[in-house]
Symmetry: C2
Subunit: 334 residues, 2 copies
C-alpha cells in the first residue's frame, strides 16, 4: 500500500473497523464498463460455487481497457471501482484476501505483470492476486467457474477465448479496432459510418444509415461525421451506434444487412479458429462443448438477432457447440 | 496578434527589422509532416507563376492534422513552422501580406472557420488568409496553380479532390482511418497488421508479413503487436510500415499482394467517384483532364508500383486521365 496510501480514494478506510471479516474482490473490466463485486471469504473451499453468490456490494465504473483510454485512466477506473466496492461493503483493504481482475486489454504476459506489480503497490502483502483477460471471467460466468469450452464476447470489443479440460488455452481476435476486430460493436459501427461516407462521396450505394445515423447524432451532413468521429477517441462512443445499424437492417437496408452478416461471419470465424486449435469438438469433430456468449452485440434480442446468427454459423461447422447465455453479469462467477 | 504576442515562438521578431519587405507564407500540412515556405510579395500579380519560385525560406515540422493529433498539438505545429519560416527569412509577422494554409483535416466549413479565427488572432489585421484542404495545394502543385482536374493524395492519409474549370468541386475519401480510407498508407499498414493477427490466431492464412513486420519493430510475437499498436495514437507511425508490405508483396507473399491490389482499387475508386460527379471527362467520357498524383504511397517507385497500378485502374474507366507527378514538393505552388 505504498502508493495512494493517503489518496482520497481510500479515505473511507479511516471510518471502517480495523479488523473486518475477510473479503474477496472480483472485477470484470470491459471497454465500456467495469464492474467490481465484493464477496465474503467464508465460502466452500472446493466444489460448486453457491448460486446465487453472496455478494456484499457491487460498484460500476467506465472503461478500464488501457488500449482504449490509456494506462493512467484505466488504472484510475480500476482503483476507484475497487475502493467503491470495499466502501459499500463497509470493508477495507486490510480485510481483502484476494483480488481477481479480469480486464479487457490484458493480451500479453507483460500486461498481466504490469497490473500485478501495480496491485502489489496498492494492497497489503498478504493479498493473493489473479489477473486475466475478461474473457476468462466471461467463460467462467457461463460454466459456473469451470474453465472449459469457448467464450465469445462481443460488446464494444470482441474476443473468442477457449480452454481445454487439461488447461490448454487459445484465443482469436481481441486485438482492438485497428487490428481488425470487425465483429465488435466498434467494428460494426465503424463499417456503418464508413458506408455513410462512401454513399455521400459516390463510392458506395445509398443507405438508410445516412439519415438514421445523422438523426441520432444531431448532425446535418456526412461531412460533419468526420469531426464527430475524431473529436473523442473513445471506442465505446462509436460502438453505441450499433442499435442504429440493427434497426436500419431490420428496416430492409441492404448496406446495413451486409455489415451485420459480415460481422456475424467474423464473430463465428473467431470461435471456429479457437475450437479448431484446441480440438474442443474432439477427434471426430462431434463432441459437445460449452459456447458461452456474452456482450451487448450478442444479447440485443432484436428481430435481427446477431447472437442467433452467430450460433447458426458456428453450428454448421461444429454441431456440438452448446450455446450458453449467462443470466447474471460476469462478475457473479469471478 | 493578441495571443502569443509575448510567446517564445515569436521572440525572434525583436531581432528583425521593423519594416521588412512584404512576404507570403504558404503551408502544406499533412498527417506526417508539415512544410511552410516564405515567398516575397514582389511576384507578377497575374499570369503563370515563376518557375522555380523565389523561395526565401523553408521550414519543416510534424503532423498538423487535428483529427490525428488533436487541435492543440496541430495548432502548435502550425504556429511553430510558420514562425520558423519567417525567422529563417529574417522577416516577421508585420511583413506578412498573406497566409495560405493547406492542411489535411480541413473537411468542413467549420474546420476552415476555426483556423481562420485562430490565424486572425496571431497575425496583424491587414493580412489576407486562405485556408484549404491540403489536396487543393496538391492539385495546384501539379497544374502550376490552376485549379482544374483531380488530385489523388496517398500518404499517411488519402483523399481525391477535383475542380471543374467553372469552380465546382468534389472530394472522395479523406475521412481518416476510422471512416474507411483503406488505400492510405495507414490503411495499407493496418490491413497488414490485421493479417498478421489473423494468421497468428488461425483465422487467416500464414504470411511473410509476420516475420517481416515483427523483425522491423523488434518484437518477438504477434501478441506484442497489440500493445505496440495502441501505445501511440499517431497515424504516421502505423503508416511507416508500408514499405514492409510492398517488399513482402514483391517477395511473392499472397496476403501482401491482396492488400496492395485492394488498396489500389480503393484509391482508384475515390478518383473515379470525383471524376464522375464533376464530369471531368466531358459528356462523351473522352475528355482529357489532369490527374495529379502525390504522396509517399504513390511515389515509392518500387518494383511493386502502387501509383502505376492506380493509373492503370483509372485509365480503364477514364482513358482521358492525364497523370501528373509534381517534381517539386507541394509548397512550391502554394
Amino acid at each position: 500500500m505504498k502508493r495512494h496510501r493517503n489518496g482520497e480514494i481510500w479515505n473511507f478506510e479511516s471510518q471502517t473497523p480495523a479488523a473486518g471479516a475477510g473479503v474477496i474482490l472480483g472485477l470484470d473490466g470491459g471497454t465500456t464498463s467495469t464492474v467490481c463485486v465484493c464477496l465474503p471469504v467464508a465460502m466452500p473451499p472446493a466444489g460448486p460455487l453457491p448460486n446465487p453468490l453472496p455478494i456484499l456490494s457491487r460498484a460500476v465504473a467506465g472503461c478500464s481497457n488501457h488500449n482504449s483510454v490509456g494506462e493512467t485512466a484505466a488504472r484510475e477506473t480500476l482503483q476507484e471501482v475497487m475502493a467503491q466496492a470495499l466502501s459499500k461493503a463497509c470493508s477495507s483493504r486490510a480485510a481483502v484476501q484476494a483480488v481477481c481482475l479480469a480486464v479487457s486489454g490484458v493480451n500479453h504476459p507483460m500486461d498481466q505483470q504490469r497490473l500485478l506489480d501495480w496491485l502489489r503497490d496498492i494492497f497489503p502483502s498478504h493479498v493473493k492476486f489473479y489477473v486475466e483477460n475478461d474473457a476468462v471471467a466471461a467463460l467462467a460466468s457461463g460454466t459456473m467457474g469451470k474453465l472449459h469450452g469457448c467464450v465469445l464476447i462481443a460488446g464494444t470489443g470482441t474476443i473468442a477465448y477457449g480452454f481445454t479440460e487439461d488447461g490448454r488455452e487459445a484465443r482469436a481476435a481481441g486485438a482492438g479496432p485497428i487490428l481488425g476486430d470487425w465483429g465488435s460493436g466498434y467494428g460494426i459501427a465503424a463499417q456503418a459510418l464508413t458506408a455513410v461516407m462512401r454513399a455521400h462521396d459516390g463510392r458506395g450505394p445509398q443507405t438508410k444509415l445516412t439519415k438514421n445515423i445523422l438523426d441520432i447524432l444531431g448532425l446535418s451532413s456526412p461531412d460533419e461525421l468526420i469531426g464527430w468521429t475524431y473529436a473523442d477517441p473513445s471506442w465505446a462512443r462509436i460502438a453505441a451506434l450499433v442499435p442504429v445499424v440493427v434497426s436500419s437492417a431490420e428496416d430492409g437496408d441492404e448496406v446495413a444487412n451486409r455489415i451485420l452478416y459480415d460481422s456475424v461471419q467474423e464473430l463465428a470465424d473467431s470461435v471456429i479458429a479457437v475450437v479448431r486449435r484446441l480440438r474442443l469438438c474432439g477427434k471426430d469433430g462431434g463432441d459437445t462443448f460449452p459456447l458461452v456468449m456474452v456482450g451487448g452485440v450478442l444479447e440485443a434480442n432484436k428481430r435481427w438477432d446477431i447472437g442467433k446468427e452467430v450460433i447458426n454459423c458456428i453450428s454448421k461447422v461444429y454441431p456440438g457447440a452448446d450455446p450458453i447465455r449467462p443470466k447474471r453479469d460476469l462478475t457473479a462467477a469471478v
